[in-house]
Symmetry: C2
């Protein structure tokens, strides 16, 4: 949380060549990069529409971001990135156009908030978003929902240790996933897919079980039905893709999640990351799994869901952890001790609290941007 200028960060956070180096040294072939400065769902641009009515400027900037991300950041190293567009949330028609425009460039992923209401947008239980859902369904574009993108991080009690916020934020997607299962959109657009980005998988075996239990027990009075007598767990397995960093509980019960819907991430460059020893850490969790399950989780599912084919560019024998690391022997892995910027307050309680970080981040955002950007 401490860095407030580029020289206090790992160069891989913003420099493409350094990013590839850091992926190589971590044995990672392909990566999906979520936006930080514009926000996970491009809310910086949405804010411009809301505050100044500058719809034209906002969509121009959003398209410029998407073009830069696709044509420069991702395209310069073919096969190394799964491009991810930002949506112009203020207008579902423009969102649909952007989905189709980006799909033509081979971009088949776009972000969306875990709770649109958290950003003052309409509910997913209305038909407001139908043009967007239809475009995603038509183009095979996966809707990627990152933790913290609508309801935000868990900041419930500012006096609690900041570890409370970190530990309990991924599971906020349980609620999001429940809302998704029950949205009419999945009945209207049966090809629509959602990815729960950074939600973990440890809670997921419980998820379809709890939803089926609820539906079985209550549908006689709720009058809720799913098409063709489906259960919530069926809807879940048809539409939801999950993602984990390091979740043994989820892997043990992977059959209850559905092996086809599990993907893996390393969360680089955030502090939850297993970089630069992600392969070793993951291996501890998967070494006893059948080989086909390891392949499904570590690359095959991702390739299929996101229409991502790195091996068109990079032969498989150059895509192994060992081969990638062999290209990265020059990468400096030493810690940047003492150069990390301003510490988060004086942590009067003896440990950093959620409140300390709220203040720290407000200060950080106030440095490069004007006050509007803090709303």
């Amino acid at each position: 949380m401490e860095p407030t200028s580029l020289d206090q960060m790992s160069k891989g956070c913003y420099d493409l060549e350094a990013r590839i180096d850091d992926m190589n040294v971590n044995g990672v072939l392909g990566s999906m990069c979520f936006a930080s400065v514009p926000g996970f769902v491009g809310e910086l641009f949405g804010r411009q529409v809301k505050q100044n009515g500058e719809k034209e400027l906002a969509i121009t900037m959003l398209r410029a971001y998407n073009d830069w991300h696709s044509d420069e950041w991702c395209a310069k190293y073919p096969g190394r990135f799964i491009p991810l567009a930002l949506p112009p949330l203020r207008d579902p028609q423009l969102m649909a156009e952007e989905v189709r425009r980006m799909a033509k460039k081979g971009v088949h992923a776009i972000t969306f908030p875990d709770t649109p209401g958290g950003l003052d947008y309409p509910s997913i239980h209305s038909d407001h978003w139908d043009p967007f859902w239809k475009a995603c369904s038509d183009e095979g574009t996966v809707v990627c929902i990152h933790i913290g993108s609508g309801t935000g991080m868990n900041l419930q009690d500012p006096t609690a240790s900041v570890e409370v916020m970190i530990a309990s934020t991924p599971i906020t997607l349980f609620n999001c996933a429940t809302e998704l299962i029950y949205t009419d959109a999945l009945q209207k657009f049966p090809d629509l897919k959602f990815a729960l980005s950074e939600g973990g998988i440890g809670w997921v075996p419980y998820f379809p079980e709890r939803l089926d239990y609820t539906h079985e027990h209550h549908n006689k009075w709720t009058h809720h039905t799913f098409p063709n007598g489906k259960k919530p767990s069926d809807v879940f397995r048809e539409h939801i893709i999950t993602c984990f960093i390091d979740d043994k509980a989820g892997l043990e019960l992977r059959d209850q999640i559905g092996i086809d819907n599990i993907t893996w991430e390393c969360d680089y460059p955030h502090s939850d990351s297993t970089w630069p020893t992600a392969p070793e850490r993951l291996w501890e969790s998967v070494k006893d799994l059948p080989e086909q399950d390891v392949h499904a989780i570590t690359w095959r599912n991702t390739c299929r869901h996101f229409q991502y084919d790195p091996f068109a560019q990079i032969p498989k024998d150059k895509a192994t952890v060992g081969a990638l690391r062999a290209q990265a022997t020059h990468v400096d892995l030493s810690l940047k001790a003492g150069s990390g910027g301003k510490p988060p307050s004086d942590y009067a309680k003896g440990y950093v609290t959620i409140g300390d970080i709220m203040k720290q981040m407000a200060d950080a955002f106030a440095t490069p941007f004007d006050n509007d950007a803090r709303d």
Copy 2:
């Protein structure tokens, strides 16, 4: 949600003899009854202090409730109930006194909200509650935290199917449990125990794993430490008792929860209940478990944690499912079709929404009480 008068409910909701009949017919020996009319944490009495300053009246009524619950409801059928006191939340000293007063009567459980801030009380990350924690620790009284008792049910999107609310409310205790692990109270009072009432166990194998991962990854910058080099999972297993209705995922990974901390409930008389076939439903989940694990989950853990000894009154051979059911052959199990009260609006969407139920419950609460009771 429909009944608004006693004759529209199962008699076992309010009549002691009918309750025992319903327990017998469901093969249930012992039950812990959470308060409905005064609220899970006696908030009806807290409201009187807040709104009218009537502290003396409030504590008198609360003590009267606790005495009635212990001396009349529970005591009339020895061995059949685990008594549960309500806390006078407005005053931690009075809370401590009430814990000690009730402990003298053999009551070793008391409620507390999942998030005191949700009811406008101070944070658990302060020393405000220390007199209460100390009394509970001294008396071996378990602090029972029921879902919906602080943050309420999940009412995030009123236009969603009410099944969203039902399915996603138990897991709100993930956040509560995280806050508990990080509260300084557990370091000050090492004998303090919390029960997560109705939280389920399907997500629990993930819980200690996620907390340990977070702590391991971040403690170097958060400066959070646990005494004696403990991990969050150690704190969890020492202090937290879990409870489930029907969670296969949790049972499969019971060793990651800790077999000593799992208890079972049937949620009678709510619609999530497995009544009157709870034993059959549970058996499907536990039939392949070692016998000692089944005993731990179905009664031994509960008896130990809550100082509950039904077999002092009732011989074990009279306490089996079969023996209890043999006493209940007269119980009418037919559905009360058509007598359930007012339907929840006209459910314009074709199914009952969260908003329909919010309106229904507001109407229901407005009937017997004045408007203050709806705050």
